[in-house]
């Protein structure tokens, strides 16, 4: 399971890379592996105000439908439209393909997210 350094993680298997006030949001290797072949991405709505933990988009694999939850409060400032035509990029390179960027309104919330080490431990606790 690939869990890169430099990112923060949620217990819903999103990652966020923070650059200044901007957060790049995607799904983790664990998420793409468990979903299987991803065939559809419903991107978040541009300019939408979102709250931490709120469903902002949908990822669908052949068999499953999963929500994408925002890791923080803020405003959606861009979405990766390439995923509409090539959703399988999330399977191939989950950390290279962000789904949306968010202007983070409360940076203090980021402290509640997991470090790579904590997320790694979280995932190993889920293995059955």
């Amino acid at each position: 399971m690939n869990i890169p350094e430099g990112l923060l993680y949620t217990d819903e298997h999103e990652w966020i890379r923070v650059e200044g006030n901007t957060g790049y949001i995607g799904i983790t290797d664990y998420a793409q592996h468990h979903l299987g072949d991803i065939v559809f991405v419903e991107l978040p709505e541009l300019d939408a105000s979102v709250a931490k933990g709120e469903p902002v988009g949908v990822i669908e694999s052949v068999k499953a439908v999963a929500n994408l939850y925002s890791p923080a409060d803020g405003t959606i400032i861009s979405v990766n439209e390439e995923l509409e035509d090539s959703p399988e990029l999330l399977n191939l390179e989950p950390y290279e393909n962000w789904i949306a960027t968010i202007e983070i309104s409360d940076p203090g919330q980021l402290q509640e997210l997991m470090s790579p080490a904590a997320y790694s431990e979280f995932c190993s606790g889920l293995e059955d």
Partner: protein, 368 residues
């Protein structure tokens, strides 16, 4: 309830199957390193091996067997010859479907019925309840493991493991004594994928031997296939799934299975209701559709026309072969004409779709 596993369970672990609880059975949904789309395309292009040992088998014997089987099912059992296989719905008196099944005729006094795993107990109870004198019914499910080898290369691969000339087993026929890798099996040219191929019934103790021999003989030309691709393959070929296209509240006529309902040939349970439904005209029909807007239709999503509910999606998927979302829906017959625009309600939003005809996979089974 504890989970049941098939005799091939250790091999699913060996080949890194992702095991799920499928109606009380521990079975692989897909295999590591493959996944549903790759497995699906493997069966369309080469060959795939499925463990379908969870399917149920009921043996019907006795002098009155033919009359009895005919009483149970909608299709014409009297037209069968020995070693023929017949597909048929089995209905309640009101015309709703109890199950769909394959009927293997050994002779007019011996039939093997192959039924859906989730319905075995219900079916067997129904069969016993309706028994007539001179017939015996036995649930023999535990005596058979079942493998399916499907795909354009299925015959070539299986032929390397047997002296029986498989070309002599025609579509929907079977041979009750084929030695596959030295193991005696029942082999029929049947399947649930829309491809040519075989279903192989074998003593559970010998199932692993046959499974491994097929994978070895096929090499790069065959892969184990999980339940995920089994569903996507049957769906693309428009083969019905119990609980979705057919159910206790859906008649075979509504589900587009009229070809398998022989109202004139014989009497059977449910005939009067189906005859009446046919005479009055169908109020709802199963239709094919494809998406116009963005979204993937899923089972049970509501279908609307101009904001009014007209039915529901029975099955829908992003088709691995056509690389686009398609679906089947049971809707008000008024809107069933090809070209009719309908809306699929996906996450509370209407997404445009259009009724089609002939948009599903053209089966490549060998009908001659």
């Amino acid at each position: 309830m504890s989970l049941q596993s098939t005799p091939l369970y250790p091999l699913h672990l060996k080949y890194k199957g992702k095991i799920i609880d499928f109606g009380g059975w521990e079975l692989p949904v897909q295999y590591e390193g493959m996944g549903i789309i790759k497995e699906h395309l493997m069966v369309r292009e080469k060959a795939g091996l499925f463990d379908v040992s969870h399917m149920g088998e009921v043996l019907i014997t006795g002098e009155n067997s033919q009359n009895f089987v005919q009483k149970l099912v909608c299709n014409d059992v009297s037209a069968m010859q020995d070693y023929h296989v017949l597909y048929s719905p089995m209905c309640y008196p009101h015309g709703g479907v109890i199950d769909d099944l394959l009927i293997y005729r050994y002779d007019p006094a011996k039939y093997l019925l192959v039924v859906n795993a989730a319905n075995v107990d219900k079916d067997y109870a129904w069969i016993v309840e309706n028994l007539i004198p001179g017939v015996k019914a036995e649930n023999v499910s535990s005596q058979y493991a079942q493998l399916a080898l499907q795909g354009p290369l299925a015959e070539i691969i299986l032929q390397t493991l047997t002296d029986t000339d498989l070309s002599q087993i025609k579509f929907f026929h079977f041979n009750p004594a084929v030695k596959v890798a030295g193991v005696e099996c029942i082999v029929s040219r049947t399947g649930y994928t829309g491809e040519d191929g075989f279903e192989i019934y074998v003593d559970p103790e010998q199932a692993a031997t046959v499974w491994e021999a097929i994978l070895k003989a096929g090499g790069e030309r065959v892969s184990p296939i999980g339940l995920g691709a089994r569903d996507s393959l049957r769906f693309e070929a428009k083969l019905p799934l119990y609980g979705q296209e057919i159910d206790k509240d859906i008649t075979p006529l509504e589900a587009g299975l009229g070809y398998f309902v022989k109202l004139d040939a014989s009497d059977f349970i449910g005939r009067d209701a189906l005859l009446q439904q046919k005479e009055k005209g169908l109020k709802r029909k199963l239709v094919e559709f494809e998406m116009v807007g963005k979204g993937i239709p899923r089972s049970h999503y509501e279908v609307q026309k101009d904001g009014i509910a007209i039915g529901h999606v029975t099955s829908g998927l992003h088709s691995p072969t056509f690389k686009k979302p398609i679906g089947l829906a049971l809707i008000d017959s008024k809107f069933s004409a090809p070209g009719t625009e309908i809306d699929i309600i996906i996450r509370e939003k209407p997404i445009r779709a259009v009724v089609g005809q002939g948009i599903f996979y053209r089966k490549r089974t060998k009908s001659k």
